[in-house]
Amino acid sequence: MSGKAWVFGDGVNTDVMAPGLYFKESMDVMAAHCLEAIDPEFASNVQPGDIVVGGDNFGVGSAREQAAMAFAYHKVDAILARSFGRIFYRNALNFGVPVLVFPQYDEINKGDTLSVDPVAGTIENITQGKSYTVEPLPGFLLDMINAGGLMPWLHRRLQEKG
């Protein structure tokens, strides 16, 4: 699967991903305002399968899960960044959104077509004809991610316990 790259800079925080002003609203409304403070086009133009690329500390800030949910809502295929805010990183995995640490994030241009395999840890930039290998998702968590996130994993665990 491949998608178009949306490229952002350093320190993109959870307040711009899920603005407090819309905190009481449904996910439809919250997702429509995702990142509007820094890229008003993102929420209306992002397509399922697209890939979000960020710099340092992507998702720094609060524990609000709507920040990570917004990307799941838009069916973003993966998020690549030089580093992640710790709670955002965990939230994204729990919603089944692959998040990969990608040191060469600044070689990606907005609109490049990328293909990402989060389990193998491979990233292909089809537009530029470049390939990258990154740390795959943590092995400990693959079970949960393969299950589709924390909810399906909890469901299975509860069933196994009877």
């Binding site: 320190g11 925080n13 307040d15 711009v16 603005p19 407090g20 002003l21 905190f23 009481k24 609203e25 509007e36 403070a37 820094i38 340092d56 500390n57 720094v60 800030g61 609060s62 524990a63 609000r64 899960e65 990570a68 580093s83 992640f84 805010g85 710790r86 709670i87 990183y89 965990r90 939230n91 729990n94 919603f95 943590p138 400990f140 968590l141 996130g149 924390l150 909810m151 909890l154 469901h155 665990r157 509860l158």
Partner: protein, 428 residues
């Protein structure tokens, strides 16, 4: 091998493994889980229904309403109603409705003991580390997992030791420490715990220690922690709880292994201000002197405790809020408000012209009264100033200590708070 930090020891106990290595992922048993109205029942209960299950241990859950209080519209009223119904349905005895911000209530009620492994559904849950426990913040989806299983996975963190020695000068406080550290350590310290020590920290009351640990979240750390001492035990007793017999054994070994150690001199610290739009965009107050402000805001878990209100009043005493500027004050808890009323602090604040707002998270995250319009400038005692955090994307928020915010309210612009304090080394 070298000695262990307090964090190493807590994670060994909570995980049941005594051979942990830093970076390893380990599953821990949760001693206490803090749920708030923001990411608590409104997000967790539908998932419990979907899973057809309940809560693992209602006595280990603390539930507080603080983000959407008091209700200002039908949506926030519905969230609060659902939160109350959740407490009733699952028999949550430690349910505190509109009594204050959750992180503050944990401290006031004596619910945190040294050595505990605790989690909270809010990034500033790190504040609990002031009591010598490991307490970290997580999203509502993971708090759902904790609510069901009583377990959570964590990467075993390394510890950064931060020593402060010496006495603060007038007009300087723990908030200035954290604004300086946001600049010097940056905001990207995942996998690390900040352990605060030194005689400056030892001299702090629990509320100032709370400020240190609270803003470990801004440093991007897993959490912050302060080893317990007699001040910790006294605070527990004040909350009506007798400390565990082994409470003071939760401490780092003399030869504990730290990833980094920093040493700072408190006497050299001056008031710090963070400029828009990041807590790390900070500098000494002189760098921002003369910035005109529309609003001064005193609120949030980090910036409206009783000690913060006291700092505010110290500057406001005998002064008035500048015409054309508004000073809004939202005490962090009902108890902080009562204490401020009892000791005269509240009278000083209101006589200066401040507007008192309800207890709760308020405008800090644009959820309550005091949000900002386009092009407005605010100086705030809160912990974050990201774009849009307090309302309009076009507003500007500066962060400072209660001393600095009070001084700006009186002057109508950012000034050195030491100018208002007798015996301080300001320029006045």
């Amino acid at each position: 091998m070298s000695g262990l930090t307090i964090t190493d020891k807590i994670l060994r106990r909570a995980s049941g493994h005594d051979d942990l290595k830093h970076g390893q992922i380990v599953t821990c048993n949760v001693d206490l889980a803090l749920l708030l109205d923001s990411g608590g029942p409104r997000r967790i209960w539908p998932r419990l229904k979907e899973l057809n299950t309940g809560v693992w241990d209602p006595d280990k859950i603390v539930l507080c309403t603080d983000h959407f209080v008091p209700a200002v519209d039908a949506a926030s009223a519905a969230i609060l109603k659902l939160t109350r119904e959740f407490a009733e349905e699952f028999g949550i005895r430690n349910f505190f409705d509109m009594q204050g911000i959750g992180h503050i209530l944990l401290a006031e009620k004596g619910l945190l003991q040294p050595g505990m492994f605790a989690v909270g559904g809010d990034s500033h849950s790190s504040m609990g580390g002031a009591f010598g426990c490991y307490m970290s913040g997580f999203g509502a989806i993971e708090m759902t997992g904790v609510t069901v299983t009583g377990e959570i996975w964590v990467p075993v963190p390394e510890t950064i030791r931060i020593n402060w020695r010496g006495q603060f000068g007038p007009g300087v406080s723990a908030k200035d420490i954290m604004l300086k550290l946001c600049r010097e350590l940056g905001m990207n310290n995942g996998g690390k715990v900040l352990e605060f020590g030194g005689d400056t920290v030892r001299a702090m009351d629990m509320q100032e220690r709370g400020t240190l640990c609270n803003m470990a979240a801004e440093i991007g750390a897993e959490t912050g922690i302060v080893e317990p001492d007699q001040i910790t035990l006294e605070a527990l007793r004040a909350g009506g709880v007798e400390p565990a017999a082994d409470a003071l054994e939760w401490a780092s070994d003399a030869g504990a292994c730290y990833s980094d150690t920093y040493n700072f001199d408190a006497a050299e610290l001056t008031p710090q201000i963070a400029a828009p739009h990041s807590p790390a965009n900070s500098g000494v107050v002189d760098d921002y002197r003369g910035v005109k402000i529309d609003q001064a805001y005193v609120g949030s878990c980090v910036g409206a405790k009783h000690s913060d209100l006291h700092m505010l009043a110290t500057v406001l005493k005998g002064n008035k809020v500048k015409s054309g500027t508004r000073l809004l004050v939202a005490p962090a808890s009902a108890k902080a408000m009562r204490e401020a009323a009892a000791d005269g602090t509240l009278a000083t604040i209101t006589e200066a012209g401040a507007i008192m707002l309800p207890t709760g998270c308020g405008a800090c995250a644009a959820l309550g009264a005091g949000v900002l319009a386009d092009d407005e400038v605010c100086i705030s005692t809160t912990n974050r100033n990201f774009r849009g955090r307090m309302g309009s994307n076009e507003a500007s928020v500066y962060l400072g200590s209660p001393y600095s915010v009070a001084a700006a309210a009186v002057a109508g612009e950012i000034v050195d708070p030491r100018d208002f304090l007798p015996g301080a080394g300001g320029d006045a």
